[in-house]
């Protein structure tokens, strides 16, 4: 476990670890507190018998059982007992240390006991939860667990937290709406913020949308000013068109290596006037228009781009240098620009890299990619957008005509066990948005069908929006997710949607255009970033938060926080909220001058280390470096990176690495305690 040591736990902070051993008391006075946990423990084992047993264990001078030692009253009773009985070790037999160990550690430290002289015996998750049918055996097993905990408590050693200095700068990775809000919040708090963006402009997917649900506000009109704020904020530096190559260091002091890709335009000289674009003869398909429209070889993806710096796409440029002539005295164009590597030092990182859209070409039943008039939702978004390639006219690809009937198909790729099991979360709502927009724009001239399985409109104002769609005349058809098929009439390029209702009734509807609600998927850069930052991905490919309920923006790596869709798909208001939440989390690191971490970090005895580097290859966190020590090279643990897993300690052939709180002596004491029982029976 790696977390910040709470302020109460801090006694005297040591800056460098002492190698010498603290003398261990031979006969410490141990107190055992057994939790009844409502009925979760007490109904499944004999708590009284367990307490009685604890009293018989060597060195246990006090034992009691109580309901909820984790409660305020419970903690007060433990503190009182520590003082009254002069306890030197505390064991709580209750739930998993993952939940309440920090609580009890701060409790004992309030009673002037070093927090690492506390030990937890898990008799709930490891015992009553798994043997619910046999109360007699659970009591016996609980005795074993308590005996082991007491055996370890006897040889526990006091430890002190480690202090790391904090750099008061922060990096936000990904400039979508979540990153924009995080960056603005942090910058307003006075921290220097670097927004690192992969593409040419910040804005993310929100900048490509026409309207937002459920208010039908113009998307770029809301986001544009925020983007401009980011661009103008004195505390924010946007590093766009850049890739993150490497991240070293740890909370408080990350060293980030970034490659700024060449735009062939000098950012400082480019005024964004666009005269180069007018002179350029070459056009190529624009990703921001979902390849429905084109942009010039020197251009910005859309007018509201921030930073407003033009980029030459050398894949298409013919090097006629007409842009150089057009740019004239501004001299902003430099065809010799090379990729530039820079290094940033930051104290915290906010990850907000967003998501990608699934290409449903490999879902045969959708006919996407084969039938001309089948679109994805984002393509439709660009069609209906007034600033889009068709100037807001919804027209078919086959003949350029306005369709008289449109079908929206939900759950394409998502909620599909063969593709993505999860729900993409915002498709129901944007489909409602599209259908309402169509009905309001074209009235009865267009029939709108929505083929859905479950309509998920479960946040503020969303159900009302669903009602609005129903009232506007959109036809909703509930279908099964299996056996759907879209077929094309080769002559007219019209489409037939064949589905089955929940009662297995086949339904066929002829339409002139189909829009697929294709799954949103993890960003393509997520796996690489996960590797660079050591933040794990879940089975779907989204970053794993520290605790899904109560720590949704933390990662397992201290100092790295999550915001927006990269943590799990979510719509704009929730991305915005999470951006601000992650900013607050990052600020809680940055506001400190130093960051204290639990001392559960491996220690190398340089005298024993032979410099064989076995530990380096065993470490999954890159936390071991080789360092000159006298006339030989020995291993050194980077304290900010070590997660205290102990793998190096067991890998070391020289027995030179020790894990505090999990020393050989402590573990053998626990093993000895179990073996003792075996010997008795």
């Amino acid at each position: 476990m790696y977390r910040e040591a709470s302020a109460e736990m801090v006694g005297t902070v040591r800056k460098t670890r002492k190698r010498g051993r603290i003398k261990v008391q031979k006969r410490p006075r141990i107190g055992v507190f057994v939790c009844q946990c409502g009925s979760a423990i007490s109904s499944l084992l004999n708590v009284e018998a367990l307490t009685q047993y604890a009293r018989t264990l060597p060195n246990v001078t006090y034992a009691e059982n109580m309901n909820y030692p984790c409660s305020h009253q419970g903690q007060e009773r433990i503190k009182a007992a520590v003082k009254a009985k002069k306890l030197e070790r505390v064991v709580v037999a209750g739930c998993s240390p993952r939940l309440y160990e920090p609580t009890f550690q701060s409790c004992v430290s309030q009673a002037n006991l070093n927090p690492w002289l506390f030990e937890m015996a898990n008799i709930r998750e490891l015992d009553t939860y798994c043997h619910q049918a046999s109360p007699k055996e659970t009591t016996e097993k609980a005795k074993d667990i308590v005996r082991m905990a007491v055996a370890k408590a006897r040889v526990l050693e006091p430890l002190q937290p480690i202090e790391l200095p904090v750099t008061k700068r922060v990096m936000v990775v990904g400039g979508g709406i979540a990153g924009i809000n995080g960056a603005l919040d942090l910058a307003d708090m006075g921290f220097k913020v670097y927004v690192v963006e992969k593409t040419e402009t910040i804005g993310g997917y929100m900048a490509l949308l026409d309207k937002t649900f459920p208010t039908l506000d113009c998307s770029i009109c809301i986001e544009g000013p925020k983007m401009v704020d980011v661009g103008r904020h004195p505390n924010i530096e946007i590093i766009s068109f850049a890739d993150i190559l490497k991240v070293d260091g740890s909370v408080g002091n990350f060293r980030v290596r970034i490659r700024k890709n060449p735009r062939y335009v000098i950012a400082a000289n480019c005024t964004g006037c666009g005269e180069c674009k007018d002179a350029c003869p070459i056009e190529y398909p624009n990703y921001a228009d979902m390849y429905l429209g084109v942009r010039k070889a020197i251009s910005v993806p859309y007018g509201q781009a921030v930073p407003l710096i033009y980029t030459i796409n050398r894949d298409y440029c013919i090097e006629c240098y007409k842009c150089v002539d057009a740019c004239g005295a501004r001299e902003a164009i430099n065809f010799d620009q090379k990729p530039e590597e820079i290094e940033l030092n930051v104290g915290a990182i906010v990850l907000s890299i967003g998501y990608d859209m699934y290409n449903p070409k490999d879902l045969e039943w959708t006919s996407y990619g084969k039938s001309l008039n089948v679109f994805t939702a984002l393509e439709f978004e660009r069609l209906i957008l007034a600033a889009g390639p068709t100037a807001g006219k919804v027209v078919r690809a086959s003949d350029g005509q306005k369709p008289h009937s449109i079908a929206f198909i939900q759950c394409v790729g998502s909620r599909d066990l063969s593709r993505y099991e999860y729900c993409s979360s915002f498709c129901c709502m944007y489909t409602l948005k599209h259908s309402v927009m169509l009905k309001e724009k074209y009235k009865d001239a267009v029939d709108v069908y929505v083929f859905f399985n479950d309509m998920r409109s479960n946040f503020k104002g969303y159900e009302e929006f669903y009602n609005r769609a129903q009232k506007s005349g959109v036809k909703f058809i509930r279908t099964k997710l299996e056996n759907r098929r879209i077929t094309e009439d080769p002559k007219t390029n019209n489409l037939t949607v064949n589905v089955e209702t929940e009662d297995n009734e086949p339904v066929s509807v002829n339409v002139e255009m189909v829009v697929l609600a294709n799954a949103a998927i993890p960003a393509s850069t997520a796996p690489e970033l996960a590797k660079i930052l050591n933040v794990p991905l879940n089975k779907d490919g989204f970053f794993i938060e520290c605790q899904p309920k109560i720590r949704p923006t933390d990662t397992d790596v201290p100092g790295i926080f999550l915001a927006g869709a990269c943590q799990g798909l979510k719509d704009i208001p929730y991305s915005v909220a999470q951006g601000s939440a992650a900013a607050a989390q990052a600020a809680s690191v940055l506001r400190k001058d130093s960051w204290l971490v639990e001392p559960l970090v491996a220690e190398v005895n340089a005298d024993l280390c032979s410099g064989c580097k076995v530990c380096m290859s065993a470490c999954s966190y890159n936390a071991i470096r080789m360092e000159k020590s006298g006339d030989k090279e020995t291993a050194r643990i980077v304290e900010g990176l070590c997660r205290g897993c102990g793998v190096c300690s067991s890998a070391c052939p020289m027995d030179a690495i020790k894990m505090p709180n999990y020393s050989d002596r402590q573990i053998t004491a626990q093993i000895g305690a179990v073996m003792q029982k075996e010997a008795e029976t």
């Binding site: 003869p281 894949d315 013919i318 240098y321 290409n359 070409k361 996407y368 990619g369 001309l372 390639p389």
Partner: protein, 314 residues
Amino acid sequence: MPLRAMKRETGEALTLEWALHVNDYKLTHDRKYCVGCQICSLACPKEAIRVEKQPKITGQKAEKPKIDVDLAKCNFCGICDAICPYGAMRLTVDGKHALSVVEKESFPRLIRDIQVSPARLQGDARECEDACPLGLIKASWHTADGRFVENLSGLTEAEKQGVHVQVDVDVEHCPCCRECEFKCSEGLIQVGKFLSGKIDIHTEKCPEGCTDCLGVCPIKDALYLSNTDNKVHVNETFCVYCGACKLVCPVNDALELKRTSIRHTAIRSGAWNKALERLTSSVEVAKELKSKRSLKAAQSVKKRVGMKVTQNVP
């Protein structure tokens, strides 16, 4: 729809297409007009055009090389269309012939200097039609009252007096070889070449009986087989310096071809300089740039001083 980039090939044409939702870019390579000369491939800024030499079968005529365009590399700029001497490439945007590189002066237009003066026609204009090795000349007759005349000999002498002849040249596909200028009535058609250069066949290096170059040359009289030594010789009057012959020549250095200049509309463009360098040589590019500079200097002096400066073109 994902980007629909397509490539279709038939015996007559190779078609590349970007079918976007609002724009449709189409590049068509017409095999009928293509002579396999490599000029498009040299001019292509994306190196998307490949010239595939056809294997030579002993005893058979050499076949002209085949042009292939890489869809992944092609950016539909239309430079191949602008440079092809035979007009075999055609770029259309939404069905209309459009050369944005030429409009934006990123690439020049070739100057095909063809003057037709029908008044000077003597005798039958059919000889003009026959004179063109590529069949690009079409002559038609109309009576004074505008009637189309099928057959001249069916008219009376009186009627013939009023007949008006029209000679149409398919300029777009014309490489300006000047054969018509020499073979039609004097002064009827006057042609200025847009490609100039130097071609030499070192007959001593030619294999016995080899006529591969002659076989692929699209201009009837540019190459000929001499009766005296049974070797192929050049008549530079008609050669357009396209280089189709050089590509099929089986012997190294037997055929030497050097393009020295290309007549084109005045422009200033890096893309053109690079294409020119590949089509001619760096020396020629330097010459052209120098003349451009003196032209510019002359213009600026004229603007400031308001007097005419004699242009010094090398």
